[in-house]
Symmetry: C2
Amino acid sequence: MRNGDSVMADKRWPGCASSLKGVILDLCGVLYDSGEGDGVAIPGSIEAVKKLRASGLKLRFCTNETQATREKFVAKLQRLGFDVNVSEVFPPAPAAVALLRERGLRPHLLVHAGLLPEFDDVDKNNPNCVIVGDAAEHFSYQNLNEAFRVLIGLEKPVLFSLGQGRYYKEMDGLKLDVGVYMKALEYACDLKAEVIGKPSPTFFQSVLNDMGLQPHEALMIGDDLVSDVGGAQHCGMKGVQVRTGKYRPGDEKHPTVTADGTVDDLAQGVDMILSQRKQ
Amino acid sequence: MRNGDSVMADKRWPGCASSLKGVILDLCGVLYDSGEGDGVAIPGSIEAVKKLRASGLKLRFCTNETQATREKFVAKLQRLGFDVNVSEVFPPAPAAVALLRERGLRPHLLVHAGLLPEFDDVDKNNPNCVIVGDAAEHFSYQNLNEAFRVLIGLEKPVLFSLGQGRYYKEMDGLKLDVGVYMKALEYACDLKAEVIGKPSPTFFQSVLNDMGLQPHEALMIGDDLVSDVGGAQHCGMKGVQVRTGKYRPGDEKHPTVTADGTVDDLAQGVDMILSQRKQ
């Protein structure tokens, strides 16, 4: 185990071994780094997922990925070598579709072209709300204006944001995430968006429900201190941050969120979990 | 005078006639509506500027226009038929250049191509701050990412915003303004921008200094309730809103800013001023 003793010695690891029954993993920045094509697996992460699966712990994947349908996204993970199934992966879009149905809302979509099929069966005529996802290159001035005009033209404007991340890391550098454009539209229309996805407690709770676990029985591992770690903690879970993906050293001195543990990467985190379970 | 009596009757006109020595006008949405080419003069506004000039009142133009150099911008106003000189027009870019010199800062510019010549003599190598203006179509995902990466790479990131407007009106509809992208970068980098331009009190004060007037001796007329009216009031001036440009009926029930007067257009506002001076 790499550096495990020192990590435990400084008490930066959550003492939840005895009650631990499941682990929730973030994907981008924990299992792989995105970029051209499928991106690239983070060293040791494919093996780490295998070890977790063999441990008997329940395993789910909770992501704010909104650039592709769940099916295409999972196929990419499988091509990278990960043992992951569609039913184990929780992204915001299916949750958004359920919410639209529940409230009888018709969205104008400012999302990545790859995500559009998730909304194929949703009525998008005469929109009465806007959904913003990680549209990336699709975040042109023209497209943001179009979403703005829909919102400003509604008597009661409703904006849903698929996540609220600030930025993420691709192979060629940091990229602005959906939260930045959510804030832009919030300011333009003087409203507050409803976040679907991490760090929304409703979203974490839906994953716990699927696992059949209580919050104290699950551990979240992610690279985003606020969305992954803070969101999980807000929901009653322990949250561990990896020093891969969008991790920055300043995270360890964050004014409001303190991770229950910080590890170099998923491989080290999984080793920590499994060694504690043996004790 | 159109509707003047009713406007005065409901006390929505500032009682500053005796002390009034100067008027500051916003440009876009008050003198003209922008759009394709030079845009179009708002009916009655060319004549209203002439009347103000003939009245003996001091006259300045205070704008957050950042899509062109001051020279090009004033030439456009002159083509539209307005009697306006470069030295009377106060936009944010020249103020920004002065501030950069004062603090020894080298900017990365996220501004409209038409504004770049204002920064010709400014050192832009190895940037240690970012300036965001109304870049319009230039607000691509790639360009916003580039500005973000400069900021996030600085030990002490400094962001200047040339105004903080939410949106403005062009002939083909409402368009997102610089404030929206300022908020986007503020959120992405977890910082607070410094606003150069309206509603910054420093900016209004620099116009008053140029006029040689005290705040109570000047009146601001604009279409933006927060930037024009609220900003001027914050500086000790009276602020009047016109019901042209980006004006929306909801402005008259705004929770924090109440105009000292509201008029249908600049023509009516100027008639009000001149009729009060005669009394």
